[in-house]
């Protein structure tokens, strides 16, 4: 992603989530943490922090949620695993989110949330 697109994404997230958005940088990566994202009401827990990792060499961000997040049906998401990002544990999950840097970042976040409404 281009630097301008990353900055625009952070700005757009800030406009929606306000103080709930924090960012950090390390090397070529920009990290954006959304403190609380509401998922489907029967997800356990129904609210999770979400981490977006932007990298110039990647066409779209990587997305992570708090380890242990369950789907709306109470199951563990298929092909999910815990990874270390910036010294902290996060859960990565498999989900193809169609998105380009011309799209609004909120569309990406909405699709990531939608992943937890699925059955497996």
């Amino acid at each position: 992603m281009r630097q301008e697109a990353i900055e625009q994404a952070i700005q757009d997230l800030g406009a929606i989530y306000g103080d709930e958005v924090q960012s950090a940088r390390e090397g070529s990566q920009t990290f954006v943490r959304l403190k609380a994202i509401e998922l489907y009401s029967t997800c356990r827990p129904p609210v999770t922090p979400m981490l977006l990792v932007f990298d110039h060499s990647q066409p779209k961000p990587f997305v992570y949620v708090r380890p242990g997040q369950l789907l709306a049906n109470g199951r563990v998401p298929k092909t999910s695993s815990t990874v270390l990002i910036g010294g902290e544990s996060w859960m990565q999950f498999s989900f193809n989110i169609p998105w380009t840097e011309e799209d609004n970042i909120m569309r990406f976040v909405a699709a990531a949330r939608q992943r937890f409404a699925q059955d497996e």
């Binding site: 700005q11 958005v21 960012s23 090397g27 999950f93 498999s94």
Partner: protein
């Protein structure tokens, strides 16, 4: 606990000491850029860089040990702001014992620290005076107005050299069970072992040997990390395993806990039955003085390396690989037996620098786009005696790191594997056919992303995005 600990990576300690112990017409100062973390409930400062002032920046002033122009600090402050790191001003009183932090030092700190704090409010800042054996000074933690003054220092070199926060005499051990071991590690070394905390990750054929030996040598606390339960197929190689454990499908961590208790040398064993990098395991690792990894997978090693580098914790990695030689001539070896014992000292070479990790190798290990598709290495050859060779050497490395029986220097040359000092020892390769462990050595690679972005950086520093 109000004590602060400084951790100084291999190489940086040398730069810092050369800068502040320099002799001249005045005292010399150096600026340390630091991150911080809470490790085991203790505030810990992680030294990332050392910057000195050019001679031209100092002013002649007989009233003070060292005086310098404020403009000389601009590059230091700019770098600290750009990397979001704290600033610690160092100088030295090269005596022995606890150095006095003078009124002059205090006044200078009172002027500088609020200014540093204003520039980078999310990090600690301080002023520290070093003697040859201790440190004293003031450290202002983020959001706090009252400075901390009890400062311990942990220098990484050929071994971990610890400077205590006070000048109380070190208690020497008088545990008769270790009399013959103390001939090697010394009585103070035995006390260090008793106070040490070593994490062992992976409690299979290698890890169980290591836990057993750590208990025998009297390590204070052994943190055992593995989520797995024992199976019948572990019986031929897992030290301490009994038939009833298999019948009850006990956790490996529980088997190790019992093994440590039965050895009875006073070591405690903390069980963490989850996989790295689950949060519970990562928090436990952060409390360790040394991490020992006995893992099959490169991704798991990547995680251990990341924790070790971020929080400046030495990491010893072991592995054995036995592969059949398909076209072997009759009478020749039918297998190739390789293995490694890699001792990673923060500031020295890392698993990326020595080529043990690479993106290609990591990609090969996955079977899909992320770790959820990961496939294990079950079914590969394992032999208890071969595991024992690398495990024993790993425990020797832990002994050296903690007690420095083979030398304690903090300089790069103290860990040099060859005469010109460019190659650091710590990468040993096993040849299981000849029964040898050979030192290969490795060097820190300039431009290594892990060493430049993760070393001593602690957790990410978050700031409001808008």
């Amino acid at each position: 606990m109000s004590e602060i600990e400084f951790r100084v990576p291999l190489g940086l300690g040398e730069i810092l000491q050369d800068a502040v112990y320099r002799e001249g017409s005045h005292e010399y100062v150096a600026f340390g850029l630091v991150s911080h973390a809470s490790l085991g409930g203790r505030d810990t400062l992680l030294l990332c860089q050392v910057l000195s002032l050019p001679e031209s920046a100092y002013r002649n002033d007989l009233k003070h040990g060292a005086t310098w122009g404020g403009m000389a600090m601009v590059p230091v402050i700019e770098q600290a702001m750009s990397e979001k790191l704290g600033i610690v001003l160092f100088h030295a009183h090269p005596c022995h014992g606890l150095p006095s932090f003078s009124d002059d030092d205090r006044m200078s700190a009172d002027r500088l620290l609020p200014m540093f704090q204003q520039r980078v409010p999310t990090r600690p800042h301080g002023s520290v005076v070093l003697s040859k054996t201790h440190a004293s000074g003031v450290i202002l933690m983020p959001g706090e107005t009252r400075p901390k003054t009890a400062i311990a220092v942990r220098w990484y070199g050929a071994a971990i050299s610890k400077w205590p926060a006070s000048d109380e005499a070190i208690n020497t051990s008088d545990e008769p069970i270790f009399n013959r071991q103390a001939l090697l590690v010394s009585r103070p070394g035995q006390v260090i072992l008793r106070q040490a905390r070593v994490a062992v990750v992976g409690l299979g054929g290698g890890g169980s040997h290591i836990v057993q030996q750590l208990a025998h040598i009297g390590v204070g606390e052994i943190i055992v990390i593995d989520p797995d339960r024992v199976e019948n197929t572990n019986r031929h190689r897992l030290v301490g395993l009994t038939s009833i454990d298999i019948w009850l499908k006990r956790r490996k961590a529980d088997v190790m806990h019992r093994l440590v208790r039965r050895i009875g040398t006073g070591s405690k064993c903390r069980r963490i039955p989850v996989r790295v990098p689950e949060p519970l395991a990562v928090e436990a690792l952060k409390e360790a003085d040394v991490i020992v990894g006995c893992l099959d997978h490169l991704h798991a090693r990547l995680d251990l390396q990341d924790v070790a580098w971020r929080f400046l914790i030495p990491y010893v990695d072991i592995g054995v690989s036995i592969r059949p030689i398909t076209n072997a001539s009759e009478g020749d070896p039918r297998v190739a037996i390789g293995g490694n014992v890699i001792t990673l000292i923060p500031g020295g070479f890392c698993l990326w620098c020595c080529g043990f990790l690479s993106q290609e190798k990591l990609s090969l290990e996955l079977n899909g786009p992320n770790r959820g598709y990961f496939q294990g290495r079950a079914g590969e050859a394992q032999v208890v005696s071969l595991n024992g060779i690398v495990a024993s050497q790993a425990v020797n490395e832990v002994l050296q790191l903690l007690t420095g029986f083979g030398g304690t220097g903090i300089r790069r040359r103290d860990v040099a594997a060859d005469s010109n000092g460019s190659n650091q020892r710590g990468f040993k390769k096993l040849n299981g056919i000849t029964g040898t462990l050979q030192e290969w050595g490795a060097s820190r690679r300039s431009g290594c992303a892990s060493c430049t972005t993760a070393l001593g950086r602690g957790m990410l520093t978050w700031a409001a995005a808008i």
